[in-house]
């Protein structure tokens, strides 16, 4: 039995040893013969570093592009002072590699590149990228330039000259210039801009070196355009300064009412004569360009404004309550509000100035009247009638209206040169001719009908015209006589006006025929037809002219024979007067002699 056990243990032990040593095992390997004699990489490398030493002005981009035909590219590495620099950009399709570099604080830096390609042996190391050809570039020196380039400008001989700090480089550098209007290039560090004519101009400057130097300069210049203004004191005139850049322009251009007027380069004014009277006329002004590039525009417009055509005699005084004209002379009056205080102004056509003469709370509609030969001014001032002598603008009379009209209402005529008036007397139902200087009535002309009658008195106070009955009365020796009356028709004449002279004639217009009559016997001195529907504005007896209006046109006729003298386009006919060969329409004036 002991033998049996010994045998059993021995066999078991041998079996265990055998089992543990009989694992699967193979020593075979696959050894491959590889040809290490392979071709060199067909590698072409381009770097944007164009000289051994490069001055870096700011943020710079170093670019490497390569062509590799027979190997696989593994890696491109840049080294700055021996330290690998991370690539900022990689464009795989064109094999262009770049990195941005900022040398701030580093005076000198050395840079080089390494390119790794496959060997093409087919070995294990080659296939997993652990075996490669290495192309090592030479080393470039980059020098930091802390002073940034500066652009300056000046005007020379009517052109803009731009200058800048030249680049530090061993190579001749080409500067690319970009302005707001065009692009150009030069090898100089200055440039004559033959396109700039003024205004804001953004100038950008760079070197065509693939951004390696980082040389960039930028400046914004702004030479003001020539000052322009509209002068309509005497004429409608556009005025301007001479352009500093006169050699870069071909002239000046005014666009007025959609019409373009080009002027010569030597001109500094343009007088516009084709406007519409009273029209607020817009003017656009610009410079005619010699060369035009970027915006493809021949004119550089920069000014736009508007003014009344043709003459604004009031000059910026926009609120004019009323204008009061005599029949003769060249002085008239107007009422205007001056900071809440109503004032009567006297305006002289000779000096083209106005002066404040009277401070008055009365507004313009308070029955202002100027005597035909400019001797008196009569007006209603808060229930008082005031008479002012125009010579020195002195009040000569001031009394309550109730003295002549118990109701306190005054419906009076113009004042004559003798300071007489005619007004409707409610109590007597008559037209009363009144002597203001002596404060006494001269005579009363009674009426039996119930109509309200008015009258116009002649310059010498001898005649008055009642328009309802179309009657001329002669006032003499404190009584009246009827000179002439138009029978059976009321308001025959749409227009009537006494002459200011002592002969006393009256102009009448019945809607088709204009008459000039002698007041003493109503004989016709002149008569002629006017176009239908014309509205007679007034007669200038001194200049012997008639002003009419029809359909946005003023017409000026000869008082002698009715010949049409002028046709003038207008925007309206409100508060218009032909006075001393001028048409006044509120603040606007047109001198007939300028036509």
């Amino acid at each position: 039995m002991n033998l049996l056990k010994t045998a059993f243990y021995t066999i078991s032990f041998i079996a265990l040893l055998m089992l543990s040593s009989c694992e699967y095992q193979t020593d075979k390997i696959y050894f491959k013969e590889v040809n290490k004699d392979v071709s060199q990489p067909d590698l072409t490398v381009n770097l944007n570093l164009n000289s051994d030493t490069i001055y870096i002005y700011s943020y710079s981009t170093i670019k490497l592009s390569l062509q590799l035909t027979n190997k696989t590219l593994y890696a491109v590495k840049f080294f700055l002072d021996g330290n690998e620099y991370p690539l900022a950009n990689y464009s795989g399709d064109v094999n262009t590699y770049s990195f941005d570099i900022n040398l701030t604080g580093e005076p000198v830096t050395k840079v080089r590149a390494e390119i790794y390609t496959s060997t093409g042996t087919g070995s294990i190391a080659d296939k997993i990228g652990a075996e490669s050809f290495i192309f090592k570039s030479k080393e470039w020196v980059l020098i930091n330039v802390p002073d940034k380039p500066v652009i300056t400008s000046e005007v020379i001989d009517g052109r803009l000259k731009i200058s800048w700090t030249p680049i530090k480089s061993s190579l001749k550098s080409k500067y690319l210039i970009s302005t707001s209007y065009h692009k150009d290039s030069t090898y100089n560090n200055w440039y004559i801009d033959s396109t700039y004519v003024g205004g804001q101009n953004y100038i950008s400057l760079e070197i065509k070196d693939n951004d390696v130097s980082g040389y960039h300069a930028y400046s914004e210049i702004n030479y003001p355009f020539p000052t322009v203004f509209i002068d309509n004191k005497d004429k409608f005139k556009v005025c301007w300064e001479k352009c500093k850049f006169y050699n870069n322009i071909a002239g000046y251009s005014c666009e007025i009412d959609n019409e373009v007027y080009n002027t010569k380069i030597s001109d500094t004014t343009f007088v516009y004569k084709n406007g519409i009277l009273g029209h607020y006329t817009y003017v656009t002004f610009g410079l005619l360009l010699k060369d035009y590039y970027k915006d493809n525009s021949k004119v550089r417009y920069y000014f736009s404004n508007a003014a009344y055509y043709p003459i604004d005699w009031a000059q910026k005084r926009r609120y004019i309550g009323g204008i009061f004209y005599p029949y003769t002379g060249n002085t008239f009056y107007f009422w205007s509000d001056d900071n809440g205080v109503g004032k009567l102004y006297k305006y002289s056509l000779d000096t083209k100035t106005y002066t404040s003469q009277v401070t008055s709370p009365s507004s313009y509609y308070s029955n202002y009247s100027v005597s035909p030969n400019n001797k008196y001014i009569l007006y209603d001032n808060s229930g008082n009638l005031k008479l002012m002598a125009t010579d020195g603008m002195i009040n000569v009379k001031d009394f309550p209206i109730k003295n002549i009209s118990p109701s306190g209402s005054y419906y009076g005529s113009n004042v004559s040169d003798l300071a007489t008036i005619v007004y409707w007397n409610y109590v007597l139902k008559s037209l009363t001719v009144y002597d203001i200087l002596n404060e006494k009535p001269i005579c009363n002309i009674p009426f039996t009908d119930d109509y309200f009658h008015q009258g116009s008195i002649s310059a010498n106070g001898k005649y008055l015209f009642e328009p309802w009955t179309s009657t001329i009365y002669k006032i003499e020796n404190n009584s009246y006589t009827k000179v002439w009356s138009y029978p059976n028709t009321t308001s025959k004449f749409k227009f009537y006006q006494f002459s200011p002279d002592m002969q006393t004639t009256i102009a009448l217009y019945d809607g088709s025929t204009f008459y000039l009559k002698n007041c003493s016997d109503f004989s016709t001195l002149a008569s002629f037809s006017l176009n239908n529907n014309e509205k007679v504005i007034n007669v200038d007896f001194e200049k012997k002219k008639i002003l009419t209006y029809n359909n946005l046109f003023f017409y000026v006729y000869s008082l002698a024979d009715g010949k049409l003298l002028n046709s003038i386009r207008t925007s309206n006919y409100v508060n218009t007067r032909l006075f001393d060969d001028n048409i006044f329409m509120e603040n606007v004036q047109l001198n007939l002699n300028d036509l």
């Binding site: 039995m1 079996a15 543990s20 009989c22 390997i29 190391a125």
Partner: protein
């Protein structure tokens, strides 16, 4: 491996105390034609992904197995305990002047079990019988990937294990000679109820899904068994 040795030792110790009567010690060895389909996929896929030229040296080929047994001999029926050890593996290899690459795999299986034989015919001294073997499998797979470029090398190791059961029906011819004998065995090994091949930290081999239950150790096994039967002691003299 310690656990398996402990198990085997346990069997041995248990039966070492039995009364030595009709006890037969056997050692069988031969070739196992292992299926290993899924394991071969690992080799193939790995090979296809290599960027360089390499070669599959071996891919889980037919290989030796070893199987010691203790059987209790009856007139026509025997039964006993077996311990089966199977092993195979693979290699992908590449080597040139620049370096070397190897991807080795080795898989072992330790399988304790039971066996029963039944003689179905006699041809003189030679007996022909059927046998059925059943037991448990403890498989261990080792993967090693090795790369050397110039003087720099790197090696990665992975270990996976799985367990299962098996049975193996077969036919054998026995030629006894005194206490010694030799047998020819032909059987078909079938594995079942296998677990996943899991690695350290319970990681599962990535191609686990292709490891179905019948594609690893399954296959034909042909071997020779050497036997030694302990002669029966004559107890009549004691009486």
């Amino acid at each position: 491996m310690n656990f398996k040795l402990f198990l085997i030792s346990g069997f041995v110790l248990c039966f070492s105390s039995l009364k030595a009567q009709n006890v037969q010690f056997c050692f069988q060895t031969g070739y196992g034609f292992y299926d290993m389909s899924s394991a071969k996929v690992i080799t193939t896929k790995s090979f296809e992904q290599l960027p360089f030229d390499a070669k599959i040296i071996s891919n889980y080929p037919t290989y030796h197995y070893y199987q010691p047994m203790i059987k209790f001999i009856g007139k026509r029926t025997d039964f006993g305990f077996v311990y089966l050890f199977q092993t195979t593996g693979s290699r992908i290899s590449a080597k040139d002047y620049s370096g070397e690459y190897r991807f080795d795999s080795k898989i072992n299986c330790h399988s304790p079990g039971l066996i029963i034989n039944q003689v179905i015919n006699d041809y003189g001294i030679i007996k022909m019988g059927l046998y059925m073997q059943i037991g448990a499998n403890f498989s261990a797979m080792k993967l090693n990937e090795y790369l050397q470029i110039d003087t720099i090398s790197r090696s990665n190791d992975y270990k996976l294990s799985a367990s299962s059961f098996y049975f193996e029906p077969g036919l054998h011819l026995v030629y006894p000679k005194d206490s010694w004998g030799i047998e020819l065995n032909v059987g078909y090994y079938k594995e079942f109820l296998r677990t996943d091949y899991t690695g350290e930290n319970n990681s599962i081999i990535p191609i686990k899904k292709s490891f179905n239950e019948s594609d690893m150790w399954d296959g034909l096994r042909i071997g020779l068994t050497f036997t030694y039967t302990i002669p029966e002691r004559d107890t009549s003299n004691k009486d």
